[in-house]
C-alpha cells in the first residue's frame, strides 16, 4: 500500500515536471528541446548528487546542514592544489576531493555516533567551521579560471552522447546510490535505523555506526561536488554554494523523503532535484525575477511538506483500522 503511494507520488512528480515543461515550452519555444533538456539536467547535476547524499542522512533520522560548506572547502582545496601543482593528474585530484569530503563527513558522523549529539546541532556547527576553514585555507582569496588547468576545467564539460560528463557523473552516482540503498546491507541498515531505531538495535544493527556511514556518504558526495562546482563555475572562493544545503534538503522533501526518517527513495531525491532544476531554469525564461523564484521554491517546499503530512495521516488511519484492513488483505490474497 505504502509502496503504491510512493509509486503514485513519484508518478505525480514526473507528471508535474512534464506539465511544467509543456507550459514553459508553450511560452518559450525550444524550452523542451533535447539540447535544452540536456542543459537543464547538466545544470541540476550537482544538486542531484548532493540531494542523494542528503537523502541517505535524512533516511537515518538525521540531517546534514554542512554539505554546502563541505563543497566550499573541498572546492577551494582542490582548486588551490590544481593551481599550485598543475602537473597533478585530474584523477588524483578527484580522489583527493572525495577523500577530503569523506573526512569532513566522517567528522560529522563521529560527533553524532560517539558523542550522541543531535545531527542538526553538529552540522550547524560544522557548517560554519568548514566554511571558516575555507577562508583560513585561502586567506579570503579567489582561485580564478586562468589559474586552473585545462583538464581540471574542461573534463566535466566534455560532451559524450549529447550530455556533458558532469551530467553523466550524476547518472553514475544515481546508479551507485540506488544499488547501495537497495542491494547492500548498509542500505537496509539505513532504512531500518531511520524507520525504527529501537527495533534496528534489537535486530543487531548498530544504529550509530549506520548514521556515521550515512554522513560519510553524504560528505564524500559533497567533496565530489566541491570539485564539480569550482570546475563548472571556473572559480573558487569562500562563499560558493552558500545556502545550497537548503536546496539539497528541499529536493529531498519535495521528493517525498520523510524528515522523520525511514521513508524515501533514490527516484524521489532525483525527481525532487529535477523539479527544482526545471523551476530554476524556467522562471527566468518566462521573465520571473529571481526573488519571486525564491518565493516560488519556498511555496513548493511547504506544499510538499503538507502533502507528506497528509499521506502519513492516511497511513496512520490504515493501521488503526486493524480488523477491516486485515480482512481486505485476506480478500486480495
Amino acid at each position: 500500500m505504502i509502496k503504491k503511494l510512493f509509486r503514485f507520488r513519484e508518478m505525480l512528480l514526473v507528471i508535474i515536471i512534464a506539465v511544467l515543461l509543456g507550459v514553459f515550452s508553450s511560452r518559450s519555444s525550444g524550452f523542451a528541446s533535447p539540447s535544452n533538456l540536456s542543459n537543464i539536467f547538466n545544470d541540476t547535476s550537482i544538486l542531484i548528487i548532493l540531494a542523494l547524499g542528503q537523502m541517505t542522512v535524512i533516511l537515518t533520522k538525521s540531517i546534514d546542514l554542512s554539505v554546502a560548506a563541505n563543497v566550499a572547502f573541498t572546492g577551494m582545496a582542490v582548486a588551490m592544489l590544481n593551481a599550485a601543482h598543475p602537473d597533478l593528474p585530474l584523477a588524483l585530484i578527484v580522489v583527493i576531493a572525495l577523500g577530503i569530503g569523506a573526512i569532513l563527513g566522517a567528522i560529522n558522523g563521529l560527533f553524532v555516533w560517539k558523542l550522541g549529539i543531535p545531527s542538526i546541532v553538529v552540522t550547524l556547527g560544522t557548517l560554519t567551521i568548514y566554511r571558516g576553514m575555507a577562508f583560513v585555507l585561502s586567506g579570503g582569496g579567489w582561485v580564478n579560471a586562468h589559474q586552473m588547468t585545462e583538464p581540471f576545467l574542461q573534463t566535466p564539460r566534455h560532451v559524450f552522447l549529447g550530455l556533458p560528463v558532469l551530467g553523466w557523473t550524476a547518472i553514475i552516482i544515481v546508479a551507485v546510490i540506488y544499488i547501495v540503498m537497495s542491494r547492500t546491507f548498509l542500505g537496509r541498515a539505513i532504512y531500518a535505523s531511520g524507520g525504527n531505531p529501537t527495533a534496528a538495535v534489537y535486530a543487531g544493527i548498530d544504529v550509530g555506526r549506520t548514521r556515521f556511514f550515512a554522513f560519510v556518504i553524504s560528505g564524500t558526495l559533497a567533496g565530489l561536488c566541491g570539485y564539480l562546482w569550482v570546475s563548472r563555475y571556473a572559480v573558487a572562493y569562500v562563499d560558493i554554494a552558500a545556502g545550497f544545503e537548503l536546496d539539497s534538503v528541499a529536493a529531498c522533501v519535495i521528493g517525498g523523503i520523510s524528515t522523520l526518517g525511514g521513508i524515501g527513495s533514490v527516484a524521489g531525491a532525483l525527481l525532487g532535484s529535477l523539479f527544482l532544476g526545471v523551476i530554476k531554469n524556467a522562471l527566468p525564461v518566462i521573465n520571473i525575477s529571481p526573488f519571486s523564484q525564491m518565493a516560488i521554491s519556498g511555496g513548493v517546499i511547504i506544499a510538499a511538506v503538507i502533502f507528506n503530512a497528509r499521506q502519513e495521516q492516511r497511513r496512520g488511519r490504515i493501521i488503526l483500522r486493524d480488523r477491516g484492513a486485515s480482512e481486505k488483505i485476506e480478500g486480495i490474497a
Binding site: 542491494r183 537496509r188 534489537y202 488511519r317 483500522r321 484492513a325 488483505i329
Partner: protein, 506 residues
C-alpha cells in the same frame, strides 16, 4: 441486550448515562447501540476483548470522539461533548494506561496544568499551585514532593499524579483505562486503596481491565462488550467468572495452560553472579535445553534489565556467561543474535518491527548476516526465509512485499516473532509475551511457547501475570529489588510462595 437499569441492585440514580451510543469508522462499526450507566460511589468494570469497543467508548466519554448516534446524560440532563475540555467541565476525567503527563514538568505543574490558581494580576500563583498540589497528594496519602520532576517518579507514582490531576478538577466521573497494566501487585494494592477512597467520596468510577482477579477485587458492577455491542451488565456479585468469559467471547473457553512436560536436556546457558551497576546484582541461574524459565517479580525488580543485558543491549558490570559450556561475552545485540540468543521485547510496536519496510525485509533483518554475501543482499534468499516463517505462522498478507505497517496488530506480532525464530536461536527471551492481548490470543501464544520448548528451544519468559508464570514455567526465578529472591521448581511453587518471595513478606 440486557437492560442496565433493571439489573442494577441499588435504587440510586446514575450520575452518567450513555444511551444508544453508536460510532462507526470507515469499514468498522466500533460501537453499536450501547447503553451504560455509572452510579455514585460505585466502581463499574468495563470488560471486553481487544477491539470490543472499550477504547472508543472512553474516547467518546472524554470528548475525543463524537458519537454518531445516541445521547450522554449527566444528572439526568443531556449533554454534548464537543471537545476534551467540555468533558472535563462536566466532571469527566480519564486516567490512561500510559499516563499522559509531562516528563520535564514538576508534579504540581502536571496536576494543575491548564487550570493553575492565578494571582490578582492573572499570573500563575506558584505558592498556591504547590500548596494545593501538596494538599491533594496528602489526601491520597502520598508523600510525593510536588516540586519533584515527573521523570524522576516511578510508574505507580505517576499514576498517583494522574489521579491527583483528575481530582484537582473536581471530577465526579473517573475513567481508569487499564491503570494496572504496568503496575506490580504491591502498587496495584496501593492503587486500589485510592480507588476505594474515591468510591467513599461518591465518585463514579469506570474501571477497564483485562485481569479478572482485579475486577472482582475492586468493582461492584460490570458491563461486558463484544464486537461493539454491550452484551451484558449488572452486579458482579450475581455472576461468576466463567459466565463473564462466556459473555466476552460469545462461548465458554477453558484457559488451561498447554504446558507440555518434556524431558529437559543438558545445560545450555549458565549465568553466574551477573551484575549491573544499578539495576541488578549477583544473579545466577542455569537454563536447560527445552526448559521454560519464568522470571517473576514486581515492576522495577530488574527482570527486563537482566534480559536486556543477556541480549547485549546493556553491559553487565561483572559476572560470567557460559553458553554450551564455553564462556562467552555479549557486547551488542548483534553478538547475541550470532550466539543464538534472541529477545522479543515487551513493547513489540516500539522495539519490534520497522513498519515502513516490507514484511520480508523485517523478517530477514536480524538474519541479514546469513542471507547476504560480502555486504550485498540476496533478495531470493531473504524471500525464501520470509516465506518459510510466514507459512509457519499463517501470516495473512497480500504479499510479502507489503509494508508491515499495513498489517493488523496480530499479524504484525507474527512478523516480529517470525523474524526472531528465523535466526534459528538456541535461547528465546520473551518479555511479557501476552501483555495487553485478549484471552483467545493468549492461549494461542501459550500453546506456541510450549511447542517451541518441545522442539528443544530454551525459553526465558518474563511475566507479571502469576497464572502465566505458574502455568508455563518449569522453574521460576523470583527477583526483588535487583536481587534474586529464589529459584523455585515447578513442583514446589504456588502463587503464595512466589508473591511472598517477590514482595519480601517472609
Amino acid at each position: 441486550m440486557m437492560n442496565a437499569a433493571l439489573a442494577e441492585p441499588s435504587p440510586i440514580v446514575p450520575i452518567l448515562e450513555m444511551r444508544a451510543i453508536s460510532k462507526s469508522f470507515p469499514g468498522v462499526k466500533a460501537l453499536n447501540d450501547v447503553n451504560i450507566s455509572l452510579y455514585p460511589g460505585t466502581v463499574t468494570a468495563l470488560i471486553g476483548e481487544n477491539g470490543a469497543g472499550k477504547s472508543t467508548l472512553v474516547k467518546i466519554l472524554t470528548g475525543i470522539y463524537e458519537s454518531d448516534e445516541g445521547e450522554i446524560h449527566i444528572d439526568g440532563k443531556a449533554v454534548a461533548f464537543g471537545n476534551a475540555q467540555d468533558a472535563i467541565n462536566h466532571g469527566v476525567t480519564a486516567i490512561h494506561q500510559e499516563t499522559v503527563l509531562f516528563d520535564e514538568l514538576s508534579v504540581a505543574e502536571n496536576i494543575f496544568i491548564g487550570h493553575a490558581p492565578k494571582t490578582s494580576l492573572g499570573l500563575v500563583n506558584w505558592k498556591g499551585v504547590n500548596a494545593r498540589a501538596l494538599a491533594l497528594l496528602h489526601s491520597l496519602e502520598s508523600n510525593i514532593d510536588p516540586r519533584a520532576r515527573l521523570k524522576d517518579l516511578s510508574i505507580a507514582q505517576r499514576h498517583l499524579v494522574a489521579i491527583a490531576r483528575a481530582l484537582s478538577v473536581d471530577a465526579r466521573i473517573v475513567i481508569m483505562d487499564e491503570p494496572t497494566a504496568a503496575l506490580s501487585r504491591k502498587e496495584v494494592d496501593d492503587l486500589f486503596q485510592i480507588v476505594r477512597r474515591l468510591k467513599a467520596q461518591g465518585k463514579a468510577i469506570l474501571f477497564i481491565s483485562h485481569k479478572f482477579d482485579e475486577v472482582y477485587e475492586i468493582a461492584d458492577n460490570y458491563a461486558v462488550f463484544r464486537d461493539g455491542k454491550a452484551v451484558g451488565s449488572g452486579a458482579l456479585a450475581d455472576i461468576n467468572q466463567n459466565d463473564i468469559v462466556r459473555l466476552m467471547v460469545g462461548r465458554s473457553i477453558e484457559h488451561a495452560f498447554p504446558k507440555v512436560d518434556i524431558p529437559l536436556g543438558k545445560t545450555v546457558l549458565k549465568v553466574e553472579n551477573y551484575s549491573h551497576p544499578t539495576e541488578f546484582r549477583d544473579i545466577s541461574f542455569e537454563l536447560r535445553k527445552g526448559e521454560i524459565l519464568g522470571i517473576y517479580g514486581l515492576v522495577g525488580a530488574g527482570r527486563s534489565e537482566i534480559c536486556q543485558s543477556l541480549f547485549g543491549v546493556t553491559r553487565p558490570s561483572h559476572g560470567r556467561l557460559e553458553l554450551d559450556g564455553k564462556e562467552i561475552q555479549i557486547r551488542s545485540p548483534g553478538e547475541a543474535v550470532h550466539a543464538g540468543i534472541v529477545y522479543v521485547p515487551e513493547e513489540r510496536g516500539r522495539h519490534g518491527a520497522v513498519l515502513q519496510l516490507p514484511i520480508y525485509q523485517n523478517i530477514s533483518l536480524p538474519s541479514l548476516g546469513k542471507t547476504s554475501r560480502s555486504g550485498f543482499l540476496r533478495a531470493a534468499e531473504e524471500l525464501a526465509l520470509a516465506r518459510k516463517y510466514a507459512e509457519r505462522f499463517d501470516l495473512r498478507a497480500a504479499a510479502l512485499s507489503v509494508p508491515v505497517g499495513t498489517l493488523s496488530g496480530g499479524n504484525q506480532q507474527k512478523v516480529v516473532i517470525g523474524k526472531w525464530l528465523a535466526t534459528q536461536p538456541k535461547i528465546l527471551i520473551l518479555d511479557e509475551p501476552t501483555k495487553g492481548i485478549d484471552i483467545g490470543s493468549k492461549a494461542a501464544v501459550h500453546a506456541f511457547i510450549s511447542e517451541l520448548a518441545g522442539e528443544g528451544l530454551s525459553i526465558i519468559m518474563v511475566s507479571s501475570e502469576l497464572p502465566e508464570i505458574l502455568g508455563m514455567s518449569d522453574r521460576v526465578l523470583v527477583m526483588r529489588e535487583g536481587l534474586s529472591a529464589g529459584l523455585f521448581e515447578r513442583a514446589y511453587m504456588n502463587a503464595e510462595i512466589l508473591v511472598r518471595a517477590a514482595t519480601g513478606n517472609a
